[in-house]
Symmetry: C2
Subunit: 325 residues, 2 copies
């Protein structure tokens, strides 16, 4: 199934993407749309035509696994075949979104139909294999599919923030106007944060964050400018924050988050652009006793929780409908 043999799909250089053989624990999906990880999409955009790069990567690796960012995304499609051992889990014809990364999902692409630069989504014709252990979600009836796909791609973000933020916490959301940033801001506010400060580089995204209304204050700044960001956040929050979440899709946001978070506080690095060593050595370098948590795309019932948040927060839903609908 994978090369080199014996390694797990995410670590594999290449996956076998021959969907003509159906194993009894597999579900084959006719893929219609890829939702590409934001860090990966932005990186490919800097190099040129995104569609061609995706075709090349999938042809070479049997999966959409960006070599530079190490990240993937997820897919939307229609169940084509269901193995006998997983017969109860899905029905042929059902519309599903994968909840595991494209970096470990065997994928075969016939062609790219269109690249959707605004949504970081790519319309394709192809097939993918979901394993028994793979998580996937049925698409909800009350949301356009492109919206559900966009939200489910970052399904791990908001539920983790909801678990980690304690009532009364001062919270920082870096990249508060992006997809995961909007979800995290809403989740932090609902978890009882006393102050939510958002940082956003682009004026347009900052405007979206302000419309959401979850942040008490939205600061326009480049998250990579650590000293400036920390200064603005401290002023806006009235001191260092208890909890920070990084949702930016460009490198070098580690130090701003560390500088703005108090000793004993927690930073949740949801962004795939995070550098492990920059975070580890950055905190050590300024002797900051923060707990830095690696974003985990999975949490129990994360798909349901994320869709419920979109359902319950009208401003959030309206922003998602405008941007991804």
């Amino acid at each position: 199934m994978v090369a080199p043999l014996g390694c797990l799909p995410q670590a594999a250089e290449r996956l076998d993407n021959d969907v003509s053989r159906l194993f009894d624990n597999e579900i084959v999906v006719d893929v219609e749309r890829l939702n590409v990880d934001s860090a990966s999409f932005v990186q490919m955009e800097t190099l040129g035509e995104v569609g061609a790069q995706i075709l090349a990567t999938v042809a070479e690796r049997g999966k959409q696994h960006n070599r530079v960012t190490g990240s993937g995304g997820m897919l939307l499609g229609r169940v084509a075949r269901v193995g006998s051992r997983v017969a109860g889990r899905a029905s042929v014809g059902e519309r599903v979104a994968s909840l595991v990364s494209l970096t470990l999902t065997p994928l075969h692409l016939e062609r790219v139909v269109a690249v959707d630069l605004a949504r970081h989504q790519v319309e394709v014709i192809g097939q993918a294999v979901l394993f028994e252990s793979s998580a996937f979600a049925r698409l909800p009836a009350d949301l356009p599919e492109t919206v559900a796909l966009a939200a489910l791609d970052v399904a791990g973000a908001a539920p983790q923030v909801a678990r980690m933020v304690k009532s009364g916490d001062r919270v920082l959301v870096l990249g508060c106007g992006g997809k995961s940033g909007l979800l995290c801001s809403s989740a932090a506010r609902r978890a009882g944060a006393s102050v939510v400060v958002g940082v956003e580089r682009s004026e347009a995204a900052a405007t979206a964050a302000r419309r959401l209304g979850a942040c008490h204050q939205v600061v326009v700044a480049d998250a990579a400018d650590a000293v400036a960001v920390a200064g603005m956040v401290l002023a806006a929050a009235g001191g260092e924050v208890d909890f920070a979440v990084s949702c930016v899709n460009v490198p070098d946001a580690e130090m701003g988050a560390i500088l703005a978070t108090r000793d004993g506080g927690t930073i949740y690095f949801f962004s795939m652009s995070t550098s492990f060593t920059k975070a580890a050595l950055g905190a050590e370098g300024i002797s900051r006793d923060v707990t830095m948590v690696i974003g985990n795309g999975y949490a129990p019932h994360h798909a349901e929780a994320t869709l419920a948040l979109l359902h319950d927060d009208p401003a959030l839903r309206s922003l998602f409908l405008e941007r991804f609908g």
Copy 2:
């Protein structure tokens, strides 16, 4: 001081290492020995002569900041000059070890005297600058300096494990025979772990871990072989562990740790070889609800706690004296 201007020392491409100008908040140290981060040292060894690579890096960047691993290490030396504003913090002639990474410490090297392959230490003649905010430790009187330096280099490891392990926890230590692995095993056992399982690739290091006696069982396996490692750990621990710490100095240990840790458990990635995306997407890929924490080289009183552990655990001290004395 740094290039590009305005960025922090760790993120900087290059630091100004001109030690002839003393600022009033700086301490200049005559450097005698570098303790190179293990991941960095091993990476340089694969390319050839370590001493020449260090000289080249320091000449180019004004600091020992490995471009591939992103990591540094720390230094040992004698205080040469003390700025007026930090007069009380150190005395000229005092022997000190830096507790912040070499990746953010301005360093000028005159030459490399000897490369100590066994200890991953390099004897040098040079000067470094410690800032007011920089943490450093006075060297203890009761330990050879090479031993203290080796322990202080990973001073963040054991105190963090001591804080995170709860009484009765099942614990996994990946790389249990290395420097930080020995410290973490001892700390986990002392924190009241009910079972400590160690994994070690080399027989010699496994023997050292067995002599330490902190692990209930030491398994010889390659941490990169995730499925095999997880199988052996589950058998040895009687189930998935509550807490895992990764101390390996080679890539690809993320998935073994994730597979071996229970839903709701915690993984502490102390190893600088850890890949953020491999950890993030690996846990998502198998829908494992684990909290993954980025190793922070700093914890309050970490130097004192680490030296106290060496003092209190005779087997640990004896192993450190043999290996680094």
